[in-house]
């Protein structure tokens, strides 16, 4: 017996970002590839130099015991620091996003601030305080404490690097926590009752991509850090490289740098495996409400944890700097005055680097986020290598290239900027990429369907939405640029001093007094950029209010490259005198043998049908039956593998060609509405009307909004609307360009049950009012039957039956259709003496709808719906007994075991209640012809 098994699901392409996974856009790919090549070149130079070492020495260097010890130490350091950073960051992120921690907004800024403190300053302060002759020892010595536990070596290094690198994980984790739908957490808590397991099973898997993204940066930063391990006297690769470098053994230094590059590769690959390629955009349903866990007594330990972290990472180093400031310069150093120019130098170079990195990150991030392709992944991952190579090596590499190939920029600011870009581009790429992944791909599709070209859709929708991510990435580049030291020293113009180089110079000579002001300035300036890095909570309502006041939000330049709508059409749109809803007009849409395959598997298989002008056709079927794919093929969001699609007789897609979505004049309403979150209701509706003159456009918006009953909400943002309201905006938006065809993809499935019924009436009403031809996809048979002119029941990529709602219900062509559309009872029957005998008595052959039984055999299954039959309690001529009853409100559902063993379901009035076990007679009450099927072998 055929049935719809849930496992029989085809890959639903609408669930991925990759619409055209096989066809990367050539221009974008080339651009991203070129950028990746440019930033990877300095790293490749290291390889080139390393290859000049003769193989024997190379091998002995790579495998000597010392190198292996260093490899072990480095690995332990990276793994431990990364693990501890995650263990520290995730709780801190929870505390500052999901709880009622006092002052949590302030904490979330302060806890990210360690990122702006150069780790060498932090380590310096740490040693000053805790070192063998440090401040604490000074306090304790009167108490007879002669020495403190040694702080040097692996534990101390791990401690400091964790404190200064955890904010990477912290920042990405709060971004993840703020983005996901908090209802998950509530739901999980009701199921799990206990917060810990709720977090473990519901929250952690959801924020995993965010945590791994941060852990990647922490790991790479740890691998490349030089100052801290050196100060803490720990032999790691950066330090060993430096030793070779100091002995002028560039080749050996390069060779050892390859170790670091290899470590970086491993880290990057591991992270790739862990994070996958998941789009992490939230659902577009009702606003994700904020969730607050009340800490209660736990408030104090939580505050203590935050304070301790801040004390170690911020208060102590800053206090040390202030001590220097108070004591002032003491030692004599001629010509060593602080100049404000150092600050402007730092800021301008870092800003330039931030801007360039943001621009260069864009193509790489977009390619890798939007297309799940190997090439895109390689380009994106390649940028991470520069982050793990020590700055001295990058700097030297740029000296090589600069002086050889571009002497005009050697020792100029552009080369410094480029050095920063090589090292910090991944920060911009990562942040930008994440922001793109958070953008619902439906938004781009919605824009395309509203007439925007791909570039325009990017400009009007994707770009504005990814700006916060781009800004955050740039800010990270900026604050790293502010701290950068070794590469700056190598490539800067002669006499070009930054805050970092100045601090280092005077500290290097033990002139601490001179270092205080520039170091504090560095921290202060970078501190501001943290505000840009910090992910924002759900958008501040005040910001929305402000935006609402800004004039001219929707630009309307250059309307000529748009498809042109005949504006004379506009008069009749909102009125009821639209096209007739009759089905006897011309054919609006026809599909002819359309197939869509994904790697051989057909999602849509030889689909043919035609839709008359003004008809409302529903495609109904279980998930995976290909109905959404069919819709996307019609809309142009997918290309058919074979077959032809015609709109008003004109071919819009076949196996070789296809009009892009923006040129089809087809409107679509998505399941998750896909409203543009950065635009008001009116702007959303106006999105596809840019070619229309302003006054007409405004009239049209007014009329459409009144049609959907949302006139009062014109200036609201989608986040302020309920699900039903969003749905109506989406409908108005898709109708605005007066499409030839309207597609609705499960438009009601994101709504509450009660609202769903109300809305389906409303939508049908509107569609019929406007008179537009519509194809509506649903998995809900009741919805399909109640609103359609015709219903197409799909299964396995094919149409099983296409007919009016009554016909498909009462006279299904197959058991598949019968069962999908409602409860189906099959009465086994056989013909005897011109009468059809069934377990509930004989039925006249005339009542059987088809002639199928005549053609086949005497063995039939007659389809009876629960309301085709009635049960009557009786003592004498019973057919069976009630074995199950369920009160449904208006009606009661019974299951009756017939004497023959067949069980049938039937409904009765709520007026009467028949107890289980009651002997009943089953009577056929339906007057319509009954459908029968040949019985299968038992």
């Amino acid at each position: 017996m055929p049935s719809f098994t849930p496992s029989n699901t085809k890959r639903d392409p609408s669930e991925t970002n990759a619409d055209e996974e096989s066809t990367l856009p050539i221009g974008l790919t080339l651009l991203a590839g070129a950028i990746a090549a440019v930033v990877i070149t300095p790293v490749l130079w290291v390889l080139f130099v390393a290859l000049s070492v003769d193989p024997e020495s190379a091998f002995s260097l790579i495998w000597d015991t010392r190198t292996r010890t260093v490899l072990t130490t480095t690995t332990i350091l990276i793994v431990t620091v990364t693990t501890l950073s995650v263990l520290l960051s995730v709780p801190l992120a929870f505390l500052t996003t999901l709880t009622d921690l006092p002052g949590k907004r302030l904490w979330s800024v302060v806890l990210a601030l360690p990122l702006v403190i150069p780790s060498y300053v932090g380590a310096f302060a740490f040693i000053s305080i805790w070192g063998p002759k440090g401040i604490v020892q000074g306090w304790l010595s009167p108490l007879g404490v002669e020495s403190l536990p040694a702080i040097y070596g692996l534990p101390g290094t791990i401690f400091i690097l964790t404190l200064y690198n955890y904010p990477f994980v912290y920042l990405t984790t709060i971004a993840g926590l703020r983005a996901f739908d908090k209802t998950f957490l509530e739901a999980a808590r009701t199921l799990e009752t206990n917060l810990v397991s709720a977090i473990r099973y519901a929250v952690l898997p959801l924020i995993k991509p965010a945590v791994t993204a941060g852990a990647l940066l922490t790991a790479l930063e740890t691998a490349a850090d030089f100052g801290v391990p050196t100060m803490m006297r720990l032999d790691v690769f950066t330090r060993v490289i430096y030793v070779q470098y100091n002995s002028f053994n560039l080749e050996y230094a390069a060779l050892l740098s390859l170790h670091l590059a290899a470590i970086a590769l491993v880290i990057v690959v591991i992270e790739s495996q862990v994070r996958g390629h998941d789009a992490i955009h939230g659902e577009a349903r009702g606003g994700s409400r904020s969730y607050t866990y009340r800490l209660g007594r736990w408030k104090w330990p939580a505050l203590a944890l935050c304070s301790t972290v801040v004390l170690f990472t911020l208060v102590m180093p800053v206090a040390i700097l202030f001590m220097w400031l108070v004591h002032g310069p003491v030692a004599y150093a001629g010509g060593l005055e602080f100049d404000w120019e150092y600050a402007t130098n730092s800021v301008s170079v870092s800003l330039l680097a931030a801007g360039v990195a943001a621009a260069m990150a864009l193509p790489i991030a977009y390619l890798s986020a939007q297309y799940d392709s190997l090439l895109g992944r390689i380009f994106e991952r390649a940028t991470y290598l520069g982050f793990a190579i020590p700055g001295v090596v990058i700097g030297l590499s740029l000296v090589y290239f600069g002086s050889r190939h571009v002497p005009s920029i050697y020792q100029t600011i552009p080369l410094v900027v480029f050095a920063y870009v090589v090292m910090y581009l991944p920060l911009a790429v990562g942040s930008t990429r994440t922001s793109i992944l958070y953008i619902n791909p439906r938004l781009t599709e919605a824009a395309r369907m509203l007439g925007s070209s791909p570039i325009e859709a990017f400009r009007r929708v994707v770009f504005p939405l990814m700006i916060p991510g781009v800004v955050a990435g740039s800010a990270l580049v900026f604050l790293h640029g502010m701290k950068e030291l070794p590469a700056t020293l190598m490539v800067r113009p002669i006499g070009f001093e930054t805050l970092a180089t100045f601090v280092w110079m005077v500290e290097g000579n033990a002139y601490y007094g001179y270092a205080a002001i520039p170091a504090l300035l560095l921290i202060f300036v970078s501190g501001f950029s943290i505000l840009a890095v910090l992910p924002r909570d759900d958008e501040d309502p005040r910001l929305r209010k402000l935006r609402r006041l800004l004039p001219g939000r929707e630009d309307s330049r250059d309307p000529n490259d748009e498809f042109i709508i005949d504006s004379s059409d506009w008069g009749d749109l909102p009125t009821t005198e639209g096209r007739e809803s009759s089905t006897d007009g011309g054919v609006a849409l026809s599909l002819d043998g359309v197939s869509k395959r994904y790697g051989g598997e057909p999602a849509v298989d030889e689909f043919s049908c035609s839709v008359p002008e003004g008809e409302l056709l529903t495609l109904v079927g279980p998930s995976g039956c290909g109905k959404t794919t069919t819709l996307r093929l019609i809309g142009g969001l997918e290309r058919p593998t074979s077959g032809k699609i015609r709109l008003h007789g004109e071919i819009i897609a076949d196996e070789t060609n296809g009009l892009p979505p923006e040129e089809r004049n087809v409107g679509i309403v998505f399941q998750d509405f896909a409203l543009f979150p950065h635009k008001t209701v009116a702007e959303n509706v106006a999105f596809g009307l840019r070619a229309v003159e302003k006054s007409e456009r405004e009239t049209a918006i007014d009329e459409l909004l009144s049609l959907v009953g949302l006139s009062e909400y014109a200036d609201h943002y989608p986040a302020e609307l309920s699900g039903g309201q969003k749905q109506r905006v989406a409908l108005a938006r898709s109708l605005a360009p007066k499409p030839d065809l309207l597609l609705l993809d499960e438009p009601l499935s994101n709504l509450d049950a009660g609202l769903r019924i109300e809305m389906r009436e409303a939508i049908r009403e509107i569609v019929k009012t406007v008179g537009v031809t519509a194809v509506w996809v649903t998995h809900d048979q009741e919805e399909a039957l109640s609103i359609s002119d015709r219903v197409a029941v799909m299964h396995g990529g094919r149409i099983e039956q296409i007919d009016g709602p009554k016909t498909v219900f009462t006279s299904p062509d197959s058991r598949t259709v019968a069962e999908f559309l409602g409860h189906a009872n099959y009465l086994p029957a056989r013909e005897e003496n011109g009468v059809i005998e069934t377990p509930i008595g004989p039925i006249a052959p005339a009542r059987i709808a088809t002639d199928e039984y005549r053609a086949s055999s005497e063995r039939l299954d007659i389809l009876v719906r629960p309301d085709d039959i009635a049960i009557i309690p009786t003592a004498s001529d019973a057919h069976g007994r009630v074995v199950y009853s369920r009160f449904n409100g208006p009606e009661v559902f019974y299951r009756v075991a017939l004497e023959t063993g067949t069980v049938v379901g039937c409904t009765g009035s709520h007026d009467e209640w028949i107890e289980r076990g009651t002997a009943v007679r089953v009577e056929l009450t339906a007057s319509h012809p009954l459908r029968s099927f040949t019985r299968e072998d038992e």
């Binding site: 002759k133 100060m231 030793v243 100091n246 002995s247 150093a333 700097g395 050697y410 110079m505």
Partner: protein, 382 residues
């Protein structure tokens, strides 16, 4: 044996905080700097009425002998100096020279000696006209790479023969001596052995000695020992120091060493004489050995880069650092020993007659690799 003590007030906050100097590569001399593009900084200037150098120590000194800058040929055009000596140490002097001549643009790239050497090696055609090194090894390295030119005799002749490259490719500006920094409360400097090898034998020094193995000056000292006393003897000395005497590696270069000695963590350490300059008064005193590697000196100096487009001024720039004014500056401000006999070292450091340095060719200090191999073999962290 000579015992010296010196003073210098460092703020207490910096106690124990001298480690950066070590970590950032090189001893404190190698620190980097930048920014003194021209003579607009303070301390630079017109030379006449302004005192060059640390006023606390310039006063009361006799007029320096030797050739004044005024009597040297003028510098002109653009002279680019890659300086391994840091701006805090020599920036004032650079600004001073720049300020002397209207037609001179003196550009100084301050950086680690190692960074500069690597840069010059890697640059296709270095912009540098002069390399100013903080040790002889770096200049020898450049010479051996064929990146330097011979200095003219009138420049070479400004300093005695023993302080310059036998090939005439570099001239030294100052000398600095290896010394033992001693804590006067823990040892009597007068009683310290004057034989470097005695420190490996005397049980009194067990766990009481420190060195700064990551420093170029220490490594040059080991190289000198190899050159003077042979590989085996050097290896044995290092091994005994580590295994029997439990020598401590400095937490932060030579400054950290001096700090640790002053604080009494150890009673003595192998370091450079000028560490005295930045220590509080009386905290440490210096002892010297006699005629062995422990008494070696190293030099700072300058060399003209092959292919310079301003040869004459580059050469004369080197000459200027051998002038009376420059030498006096070094004596009073960096507390090093002048290279010209006409300027006396500052009285806070021992007179040159109290030293008996060993005889060896400074060029041989460039053989660093074997030294590093030896240190690594013994597990000494560099």
């Amino acid at each position: 044996m000579v015992g010296i003590n010196r003073r210098r007030v460092l703020q207490s906050a910096a106690a124990g905080t001298v480690f950066l100097a070590g970590c950032m590569g090189g001893d404190e001399e190698n620190g980097n700097g930048g920014g003194s593009e021209n003579g607009s900084g303070n301390g630079g200037g017109n030379g006449d009425d302004e005192v060059l150098g640390d006023p606390e120590y310039t006063e009361g000194r006799p007029e320096p002998g030797g050739t004044s800058m005024e009597d040297m040929p003028d510098l002109e055009g653009e002279v680019i100096v890659y300086s391994g000596r840091s701006q805090p140490r020599v920036g004032e002097l650079m600004d001073y020279i720049d300020g002397l001549y209207d037609d001179l643009t003196l550009e100084v790239r301050y950086d680690d000696t190692d960074d500069l050497i690597n840069a010059i090696t890697v640059e296709e055609e270095t912009p540098a006209d002069v390399f100013y090194g903080s040790d002889s090894q770096s200049m020898t390295f450049l010479k051996d790479e064929g990146l330097t030119t011979e200095l003219p005799n009138d420049v070479l002749d400004l300093s005695p023969e023993e302080f310059r490259d036998p090939d005439g490719n570099w001239a030294s500006f100052t000398r600095r001596f290896r010394a033992l920094a001693c804590n006067p409360e823990m040892v009597d400097v007068e009683e310290m052995p004057d034989d470097i090898f005695a420190y490996a034998e005397d049980e009194a020094f067990q766990d009481e000695l420190m060195w700064a193995a990551d420093q170029g000056s220490f490594q040059a000292f080991v190289t000198a020992m190899r050159v003077i006393h042979g590989e085996d003897e050097t290896f044995e000395w290092l091994q005994t120091m580590v295994e029997d005497q439990g020598v401590v590696n400095s937490p932060g270069g030579d400054s950290g060493l001096a700090e640790a000695v002053g604080a009494g963590e150890v009673s003595a350490g192998f370091t450079n004489h000028y560490t005295l300059r930045d220590q509080p008064e009386g905290a440490i005193e210096l002892a010297f050995t006699d005629g062995d590697a422990g008494a070696m000196f190293n030099v700072t100096g300058g060399t003209v880069i092959e292919g310079t487009d301003n040869q004459a001024s580059a050469e004369q720039f080197v000459a200027h650092l051998l002038s009376a004014e420059a030498q006096e500056y070094f004596a009073t401000t960096t507390w090093e020993y002048p290279s010209i006999e006409e300027v006396e070292p500052i009285e806070e450091v021992p007179g040159t007659d109290e030293f008996s340095p060993p005889e060896y060719d400074l060029n041989e200090l460039a053989e660093l690799e074997a030294t590093l191999d030896m240190l690594h073999e013994l597990g000494i962290e560099t």
